[in-house]
């Protein structure tokens, strides 16, 4: 017992992709407010193991908010109640004693559940593989300072490139749209001189892949931007739309 938070957890349990899932209720006690949310789940899991039950499967790795692997939908929000924070950086001081916390996986057709809170996000990798790169083989590069880039453009490209690919934008969207994720990469490369050569092709290829994966359309509710732990701006979506339409109209 390290702390004095007692909580009720309602957690989605699902054995695998083929079986139906349901909520199970667990009590945890003695939780310290200095614990991270995932450390609280660690406490629960070690107890479940000692009691002979199956622990809750969840994705996580770096636990410092950068790898994008953690993915819980907590009390109706991806990554929980705080703004600009991933689940691994959410701390228990954000909850109060006696609270009931509901924990679900990302819910989207393009993110099928693998087990419990773990989902398959490989569709994101395929969107990048469709065009989220500059085609430059190793060894072809000129001196880095031969390409001066206005600081404002570099900063804006960096802000888009800060996306961690966690999928919170999809989970937050009622249409399960991947527009924020896709547009962040399209924007980063459209803003930089290095990305100009393949600009039109990239926007079309990535949008096509996004549609093929079964992600929904964008209806501009802005939920993705509000829930993004890295503050990726919805302006990127507007930019991607411009990129896409000018590419389509310019095409022969």
């Amino acid at each position: 017992m390290e702390g004095n938070l007692n909580l009720t957890l309602k957690i989605w349990r699902q054995k695998n992709a083929n079986e139906a899932g349901k909520f199970e209720t667990y009590q945890v006690s003695g939780i310290s407010e200095d614990m991270s949310f995932l450390e609280m789940i660690d406490v629960l899991n070690n107890r479940l193991i000692e009691e002979g039950d199956d622990p809750v499967a969840f994705d996580h790795d770096c636990r410092e908010g950068i790898c994008g692997m953690c993915s819980m939908y907590i009390n109706g929000s991806p990554h929980g109640p705080n703004k600009g924070v991933t689940t691994c950086q959410l701390h228990m001081r954000s909850f109060s004693n006696g609270e009931t916390i509901t924990i679900e996986p990302w819910r989207a057709g393009a993110f099928p559940v693998i087990k419990d809170l773990v989902v398959n996000r490989s569709s994101f990798d395929r969107i990048i593989a469709a065009g989220g790169f500059v085609s430059v083989n190793t060894g072809n590069a000129q001196d880095a300072n031969n390409i001066p880039i206005p600081k404002e453009d570099a900063d804006e490209a960096f802000a888009a490139a800060a996306c961690i690919g966690c999928g919170a934008c999809v989970a937050a969207c009622k249409n399960a749209s991947a527009m924020l994720f896709t547009s962040a990469k399209v924007s980063q490369l459209a803003l930089l001189p290095q990305g100009q050569v393949e600009r039109a092709k990239r926007a079309q290829a990535m949008v096509a892949q996004m549609d093929e994966e079964g992600f929904g359309a964008c209806t501009n509710t802005g939920a993705c931007e509000a829930e993004c732990p890295k503050g990726i701006s919805i302006e990127n979506i507007a930019r991607m739309n411009r990129e896409y339409f000018s590419a389509v109209f310019a095409a022969k």
Partner: protein, 659 residues
């Protein structure tokens, strides 16, 4: 006695790599299409190697245990990447980067490898910029640099506090491009559990599909381990939860020598432990030492709050002890100095195991400079404070936010509390100049090998090494081996060696599942971590190391009798994954202690209390220990030492001084 040959090319240091590249055997494009390469790990080293080899025409398979190659822990590197570009006109050069790295490594790295690293460092920046990596820039549009520890030039390129993320996403985009073209087959949520050796050569791997639990056999003419470091042997470290030694350790047990396992980097600026629940530690970038000042109270056990302690009652102990480098001394030195102050009773915070990293002076300095820029004459203290905080937020905002999130304290108002934590392992699989281990056809790249950082790595050099190995070294050196493999057809994975290797893996997993003991994996991992931290951590001594070896052996025995792994073999089972990794850490930990015990000197991250100067600095013994300790696995708890003598022909070896 030695069986190891580093295969360092002849000739002058500065010409070795150029000559090697011009004379190394080549593989023609038609033959490349028939040669298969297995790459394990998708971090900077793995992703860059895989993309570059696929571009050359080889058939590549890449494996990672995460759900996407973009998650590899290179992503978490914060501060920057070094390169000898001399863009700042401050006297940098290939030789100076080489020299700083050898000196920073406390004269325990191989000259030829380090010089090659310095030579290709500039190409890395060019390559990354061409990919669209958004490095920080000045208003003129050119690249910005900052300082890191152990150097007196500004050669560190960065992207805010997310340099590793941006570099990895660059390498990942190159990798995904090849995946899209079908030249790389990507296997995510797969963990390598053994290397397959046929007629003395590495010919593939056994991997477990972590979702279905199925074991798979994969052939390769060569196998590249790009699997990172083993800092998680300490349980608490800045590594990701999944970072592990399993791939490297399995290779070690199949004949690859393990070099300098005791060389561990303890990073000086991490957020202190807050309680027993702690699952990992978070780094506060070394770049913070550019502007932050480190101090403790001059009075022991001072109960006052940081902001209540007046200036003349603060001890800026790094500036006091090391005036030439001040707060920018190398990591090993900064860490030991923090431990020394805390052990002597000057620590701060509730645990008293922390020191302050203070931005108050930097906020005032930046605030005044900003007032000048904006033509504000006689600014008030309040105005200076506001403007200063704005500048600090632009430079380090994400780090400050992260600190606040974790500790609940606002670092703009009160100094940060920091303490050293395990961060990086300089040791790793022994490799020759080609990056090949002692098993032909088996390579180790990036943190997984031992080669470039000696006994202590300088900040911003890990990213440099990972990408150097992957982009600019292995594409050449692998040809040296594969040129003689063009007549080897793909070997069937139904062959005896593959079947036997898979069975051995399957037997071990079944054994683990069948223990059905009483304690979860974490119980053993935490215990191992405590033994390692207390007895093989920042300071080691003979008696402690001997105790640690006994304790680890006993703990290992208990683990194999009493670990409890829930769930099934043929389903996603994170506890089984952890158990298999901890089983390997329980063997590695013993070797680390044995290596530390063997090395009767102090150097870099290896500090033996018996061997120190009167001022408490590391005392090397160059006469007897100027060698790489390469350990051969001989059976449980049995390791044979081989020595690679280190020859310094281009650097005058000296007592390291940063005073």
């Amino acid at each position: 006695m030695t069986k190891i040959d580093a295969k360092i090319p002849e000739g002058n240091l500065a010409e070795k790599w150029t000559k090697y590249r011009s004379s190394v055997p080549l593989v023609n494009p038609a033959n490349k299409r028939n040669l298969e390469v297995v790459v394990v790990g998708s971090g900077l080293a793995g992703a860059s190697a895989a993309a570059s080899l696929a571009e050359l025409g080889y058939k590549v398979k890449v494996f990672c245990f995460q759900d996407s190659p973009r998650r590899a822990h290179s992503i978490a590197a914060q501060g920057g990447i070094n390169a000898a570009k001399n863009y700042q006109n401050d006297g940098d050069s290939t030789y100076r980067l080489f020299y700083d790295t050898i000196k920073g490594g406390d004269y325990r790295a191989r000259e030829a490898n380090v010089h090659r690293l310095a030579e290709v460092s500039g190409n890395i920046i060019d390559q990354c910029v061409a990919q669209g990596v958004p490095f920080a820039r000045e208003y003129g549009g050119l690249l910005s640099n900052r300082s890191f520890g152990g150097t007196q030039v500004q050669r560190t390129f960065y992207a805010a506090g997310q340099t590793g993320q941006q570099l990895l996403l660059g390498a990942y985009s190159g990798l995904q491009r090849q995946v899209g073209m079908g030249t790389v087959e990507m296997y995510t949520r797969h963990e390598m559990l053994d290397v397959v050796i046929i007629d003395g050569k590495a010919r593939g791997i056994i991997a477990r599909d972590l979702v279905t639990g199925k074991l798979e056999r994969h052939f390769g003419h060569a196998v590249l381990l790009c699997t990172g470091g083993y800092g998680n042997v300490f349980y608490l470290s800045t590594n990701a939860m999944g970072s592990n030694v399993t791939a490297a350790w399995k290779a070690h047990k199949k004949g690859a020598f393990f070099a300098n396992p005791c060389y561990t980097q303890i990073h000086p600026t991490c957020i202190p432990v807050s309680g027993d629940h702690q699952s990992k530690l978070t780094l506060m970038s070394e770049s913070l030492r550019n502007d932050g000042r480190i101090w403790v109270p001059k009075k022991q056990n001072d109960p006052r709050k940081a902001n209540d302690i007046p200036e003349d009652e603060r001890d800026y102990y790094l500036e006091r002890r090391y005036p030439a480098f001040g707060n920018l001394v190398p990591r090993d030195i900064a860490s030991r100095a923090a431990k020394e102050r805390c052990d002597a009773g000057y620590g701060v915070g509730t645990s008293k195991m922390a020191v302050y990293l203070d931005y108050a002076a930097a906020i005032v300095r930046y605030g005044k400079a900003e007032a000048n820029k904006r033509n504000i004459h006689n600014p008030s203290d309040e105005e200076i404070n506001v403007m200063g905080k704005e500048v600090v937020a632009e430079k380090y905002g994400n780090l400050f936010d992260m600190y606040k999130q974790i500790t609940g304290e606002d670092p703009y108002e009160v100094p940060m509390r920091i303490y050293p934590a395990v961060h990086y392992t300089m040791g790793g699989l022994w490799v020759d100049y080609n990056l090949m281990t002692t098993v032909p056809g088996l390579y180790a790249l990036g943190e997984a090998n031992f080669s470039d950082h000696g006994a202590n790595r300088l900040g911003a050099s890990a990213l440099m090494q990972g990408l150097a190995d992957g982009y600019f070294v292995i594409p050449y050196t692998i040809g040296n081996y594969l040129a003689s493999e063009i007549r080897t057809p793909a070997i069937s994975t139904d062959s005896e060696a593959f079947v036997a290797a898979e069975k051995a893996v399957s037997d071990q997993l079944n054994q683990l599942m069948n223990i059905k003991g009483s304690k979860p994996v974490d119980y053993f991992h935490k215990k191992l971590g405590k033994i390692m931290w207390d007895k093989c951590g920042m300071a080691r001594n003979e008696a402690g190391l001997k105790e640690a070896i006994q304790e680890i052996q006993a703990l290992r025995k208990e683990f194999w009798q009493d670990v409890r792994i829930p769930g099934e073999l043929d389903n996603l089972n994170p506890e089984l994954e952890k158990a298999a990794r901890v089983a390997d850490f329980l063997e590695l930990g013993e070797l680390m202690c044995k290596d530390a015990l063997n090395r009767n000197e102090s150097c870099g991250g290896h500090f033996r209390e018996e061997f120190q100067t009167e001022e408490g600095e590391a005392l090397r013994d160059d006469e007897n220990y100027a060698y790489v300790a390469a350990w051969e696995f001989k059976g449980e708890s049995e390791f044979e030492l081989h020595k690679e003598e280190l020859k310094y022909e281009n650097i005058k070896i000296a007592q390291r001084s940063y005073k």
